[in-house]
């Protein structure tokens, strides 16, 4: 390639280069929707080129599901099949919540690598970079959910809520995950290195996903812990998702999840936008 550079320089005084520089006209700036879609297609291309990012999404849930069902199912619920009915909704929530963390990590990488600087000097509606990424994240979350549910069905998961119940559950998970993503984008903008970002994200995620009602009924816990588990937003979501899947959901349960999502979004979305625009 370097070879051909030399040749076209000699034969034609770099005519191609001169033409390319002269030929550009400034098109009118794209609207926010169009630039959001461009960023979304970038995120899709990244999934294509870096399929490892989907690896985390699919492999961990499977390991968790198998491990907990067969290793602890008998001990906790008496039978693996009974435990699966209880566990699958919980582990689905846990998996997708943990995946949301990658939104922040991707953003953090962009900032450290310098491509963020390029985006910020383009005359575009800046939040479209985030909107595009979050759109594709929804695709990732849906894929992870699908894999989990299909695997669950194979293992013997039988949702009484049927297909509509499952769809409702996934939709609620997507809403919640979208709002939770803003927490990670905020952290992704604050933290200097990927390592420290991972650390902090884990420190938040591990307690809220494990100290929840994902694996056990809160009534079996000591009362001080039960207090935390009951107000933990992950527990609220798990309760509603179980409700949807087993056809016993109440408006109250959904309401709590929407409220938690609203609170996350109202605090962290503007904070992200502020940090994003004022990043030094």
């Amino acid at each position: 390639m370097t070879q051909s550079f030399e040749t076209n320089k000699q034969g034609g005084a770099n005519g191609q280069l001169i033409d390319a520089i002269a030929s550009s006209e400034r098109p009118s700036r794209p609207n926010g929707l169009s630039s959001s879609f461009t960023f979304a297609s970038r995120a899709l291309l990244r999934i294509k080129h870096v399929p490892e990012q989907l690896f985390d999404v699919t492999v961990f849930p499977i390991i968790f599901l198998l491990m907990f069902t067969y290793l602890f199912g008998g001990a906790i619920a008496g039978s693996t099949s009974d435990y699966l009915q209880f566990l699958l909704p919980g582990i689905l929530v846990m998996t997708v919540s943990q995946i949301t963390m990658y939104t922040g990590i991707d953003l953090n990488n962009d900032i450290r690598k310098g491509i963020f600087d390029r985006f910020r000097t383009l005359p575009i509606w800046l939040p479209s970079a985030l909107v595009g990424a979050l759109l594709v994240d929804t695709v990732r979350y849906s894929m992870a959910s699908t894999i989990m549910i299909v695997l669950g069905l194979i293992l013997g998961f039988r949702p009484e809520g049927g297909f509509p119940g499952v769809i409702g559950a996934v939709a609620l998970i997507l809403v919640f995950s979208f709002s939770l993503s803003w927490v990670w984008t905020t952290l992704g903008l604050i933290m200097r290195s990927e390592k420290s970002l991972m650390m902090v994200s884990m420190m938040v995620l591990f307690p809220i996903t494990f100290v929840s009602n994902v694996f056990v009924e809160p009534e079996t816990l000591p009362s001080w812990l039960e207090g935390f588990v009951d107000i933990n937003p992950i527990s609220l979501l798990v309760t509603a998702v179980r409700g949807f899947m087993h056809d016993a959901v109440t408006f109250e349960q959904i309401g709590w999840v929407l409220l938690a999502s609203f609170i996350f979004t109202i605090i962290f979305a503007p904070l992200t936008m502020y940090l994003y625009r004022n990043k030094k």
């Binding site: 280069l17 520089i21 080129h49 491509i115 600087d117």
Partner: protein, 328 residues
């Protein structure tokens, strides 16, 4: 804003940026004419990147103000962004994507239709001799190719003002020449270029005017010949056979050249700044007459260290030279 009357691309007064206690940029004034190439010359940590990031609207100055094509740097960022482009010190493209995917993405973000974007991306890849690598991920590119795709991404729409932060640092001479050709072609097409460099030769080759920057301050400014006049056109290095002869040799050479003759870092060596290379032969002949034997001598461009030595009377501080990739 009537652009035709505007003759200045950049006018800055008293720009300051403070990081903690560190005054990274400490009162920088600049006037850069439209259509010119301006070189920022300085060692690592001098404040070059910080200045560029302020001028490219990425960083707010703590003090001072600036106008880009007459637009205020702080209050008219949208107008500025539509006319500038930045190629950062580190790759400002997505390394996981291929070359063509990167250029299509930027073209789409600039407002081209899908079809136009593809055409423009291909045109640029050919012009930058990257057509063969179009479908390779950028992370597999060589240093020179990476730099070229980065610059290509910056000129998807030819900007009126292009910032290039150390465009050739770490490149081999051939790749460096290719980048220089690109910069020259851009300037011919009317783009104003502000580039930073650690190499005097690069500033000399490309820039109409040069600012030498150290510790956040501009310590010299002028055309390359003005700077050279103050620094010495070339540097003479002489190694003596016997280090005992050095004082005598300095004395002899000082008579023939001027008082820029100094002892070198090695006890048997000395250096001198030479304005007129034709007197060098004569001066070295004098050494011969005095029976002072030399092992080697060479005449070269003054290095950045020598510029600093002359301008500040101090060598470049080693402790100022840290990698800043980590500190962003």
């Amino acid at each position: 804003m009537d652009d035709t009357k505007q003759t200045m691309a950049i006018e800055a007064k008293g720009l300051v940026k403070v990081f903690g206690k560190d005054r990274a940029v400490d009162g920088v004034d600049l006037s850069i004419k439209k259509g010119s190439v301006y070189g920022f010359l300085g060692p690592n940590g001098a404040g070059k990147t910080t200045t560029i990031r302020m001028l490219a609207t990425l960083l707010q100055p703590d003090e001072g103000h600036a106008q880009i094509f007459g637009h205020d740097l702080v209050s008219e960022t949208a107008a500025i962004k539509s006319r500038i482009s930045l190629t950062g010190q580190y790759a400002s493209i997505d390394e996981d994507l291929t070359g063509i995917e990167n250029l299509i993405m930027i073209s789409r973000l600039m407002g081209y239709s899908r079809k136009q974007a593809k055409a423009r991306a291909n045109e640029l890849l050919h012009a930058f001799s990257l057509a063969d690598a179009a479908k390779k991920q950028v992370k597999n590119y060589s240093g020179g190719m990476r730099r070229r795709i980065d610059i290509a991404a910056s000129i998807v729409v030819t900007p009126d003002l292009l910032f290039l932060d150390e465009p050739t640092t770490g490149l081999d001479p051939r790749s460096r020449n290719q980048v220089w050709d690109i910069i020259r072609a851009l300037v011919n097409a009317g783009t104003t270029v502000l580039l930073t460099t650690q190499y005097l030769e690069e500033a000399d080759q490309l820039a109409d005017r040069i600012a030498v920057i150290n510790h956040g301050k501009i310590i010299a400014e002028g055309t390359s010949s003005e700077l050279k006049a103050s620094v010495g056109m070339s540097t003479l290095h002489v190694s003596l056979f016997d280090q005992q002869d050095r004082d005598k040799a300095i004395e002899v050479l000082t008579q023939k050249l001027d008082d820029s003759v100094r002892p070198g870092s090695d006890p048997a060596s000395l250096t001198a700044q030479v304005l007129d290379p034709s007197v060098v032969a004569e001066a070295l002949g004098e050494l011969q007459k005095e029976n002072i034997r030399m092992t080697t001598f060479s005449l070269g461009q003054p290095s950045l260290d020598e510029v600093f030595l002359t301008l500040t009377g101090q060598p470049v501080e080693e402790n100022a030279a840290h990698e800043e990739g980590v500190t962003r």
